[in-house]
């Protein structure tokens, strides 16, 4: 019997993390599924991930597991799925951020760790709104510091589809963000030329903004079925890039 147990333990895959799901009740009454991927030996930070306007995909779930293997707990919240919203930018623009606030509160309550948010593309809209809601609610209290900052991959914060030759209009949240923001921007995007403008908007709300350009990759590079060899390589190291960004933000607060 002991020999059988030993064989089973050897054959079982070596897990660097454990995963589970939990339901979080939103203010609307809807329930959001939280996918929890905890590291075996985790740090004092928790990364709370919100999928972009493309919706929750397997790629993002794999990314969360890779990040967890580096010692950071990752909890993924399906914003669109919880409201049965289609995966498109307009769905993200319509979210107020109150569900993000609820999930941040849930994450902090259940983990006791400093929470960092991460999203991509138009996911930046509800995530920054949720971050603002957190600051508005807990400003001046010890709990305010429980939200460490936000990591944004190729954020999209414009109010409507851009028109050629016309100034880009940003959503109000671009000027109302005060938590630290770390932007990871693919080089091969038109938006990389407008980062100084986006940075100015975010800083006007009090946010400390750090920007890293990801060389020779396009937007949504890690989701592309036609990814180049280089994009695939960068996708492999993206978990490390994200963890480094989180560590940098954390270090700047100490």
């Amino acid at each position: 019997m002991h020999r059988l147990i030993l064989i089973l333990l050897i054959l079982l895959p070596s897990l660097s993390h454990a995963s589970e799901t939990r339901l979080v009740t939103l203010p609307s009454g809807d329930e959001m599924t939280l996918r929890i991927v905890n590291a075996r030996e985790s740090e004092n930070q928790l990364l709370l991930g919100f999928p972009c306007d493309q919706g929750m995909r397997e790629v993002e779930l794999h990314l969360s597991e890779s990040i967890a293997s580096q010692g950071v707990d990752v909890w993924m919240a399906d914003l669109l799925g919880s409201h049965f919203l289609p995966a498109q930018p307009s769905s993200m623009r319509g979210l107020t951020g109150e569900e993000v606030l609820t999930v941040i509160e849930d994450a902090y309550e259940h983990s006791g760790k400093q929470v960092y948010l991460i999203t991509a593309g138009f996911g930046a809209i509800p995530v920054l709104r949720g971050a603002k809601a957190w600051v508005d609610k807990y400003q001046g209290t010890a709990q305010e510091q429980a939200l460490g900052g936000v990591i944004l991959l190729y954020p999209e914060l414009h109010a409507s589809e851009p028109e050629p030759g016309v100034d880009l209009e940003y959503l109000p949240i671009a000027d109302q963000t005060s938590v630290p923001v770390y932007i990871l921007q693919p080089e091969l995007t038109p938006a990389r030329w407008w980062l100084d403008q986006l940075k100015a908007h975010l800083e006007s709300g009090g946010a400390k903004v750090t920007i890293d350009i990801l060389p020779k990759v396009r937007g949504y590079f890690f989701l592309r079925p036609n990814a180049t060899a280089h994009e695939k390589s960068v996708s492999q190291v993206l978990p490390r890039i994200v963890v480094n960004a989180l560590h940098r933000m954390n270090a700047e607060q100490e």
Binding site: H158, E161, P162, E163, P164, G165, V166, D167, L168, L188, P190, A191, W193, W194, R218, N226
Partner: protein
């Protein structure tokens, strides 16, 4: 080439409403945008104002942009169609080095000027937020149409618009 009467062309323009399977060529409602000068791959300087008197298709593109690459052959076909008329295409590349562009053009043979906006200065002045972005400029230098997205530039819908501008 036998050309259609202008009023027929205008009617066709209205009927087709500038739509194609890829993008929509819309009348431009923004502010005037500034003249600029950029070098081509051989170092020759081109100013937009040099082309006054011609209809200009001003295209902003990059080699890594799939819709940009897809529409480029149709741009060349359009150029070929109007090579003896008051029409020119200027293709402004966004921020890529000459070698990258040269390698790309070995496989994509075009004979219209490819201009280099290496530091994105013109991109910012012309408020380009997506690739490809294209402007149609009339002979007086006024921006008449703009498009965010790719297009089959020798499609009947696009040709009608270009033809009307050339005949003005």
């Amino acid at each position: 080439m036998k050309t259609l009467p202008v009023f027929i062309i205008a009617l066709l323009v209205a009927l087709f409403a500038f739509t194609t399977q890829a993008g929509e060529l819309k009348p431009y409602n923004g502010k005037p945008l500034p003249d600029f000068s950029l070098q081509d791959l051989k170092g020759k300087k081109h100013s937009l104002s040099d082309y006054k008197g011609k209809v200009v298709l001003l295209n902003f593109w990059a080699t890594w942009c799939p819709p940009c690459v897809k529409e480029m052959p149709s741009m060349q076909r359009l150029q070929d169609k109007y090579q003896d008329q008051d029409f020119e295409i200027l293709a402004v590349n966004m921020g890529e080095d000459s070698t990258t562009i040269e390698i790309f053009l070995q496989k994509m043979s075009v004979n219209f000027p490819v201009l280099l906006d290496s530091d994105g200065a013109i991109l910012k002045q012309w408020k380009i937020f997506a690739f490809p972005t294209t402007f149609l400029i009339d002979k007086e230098g006024n921006i008449t149409y703009a498009l965010f997205g790719g297009l089959e530039w020798d499609s009947p819908e696009a040709v009608v618009v270009v033809e009307e501008l050339i005949q003005q």
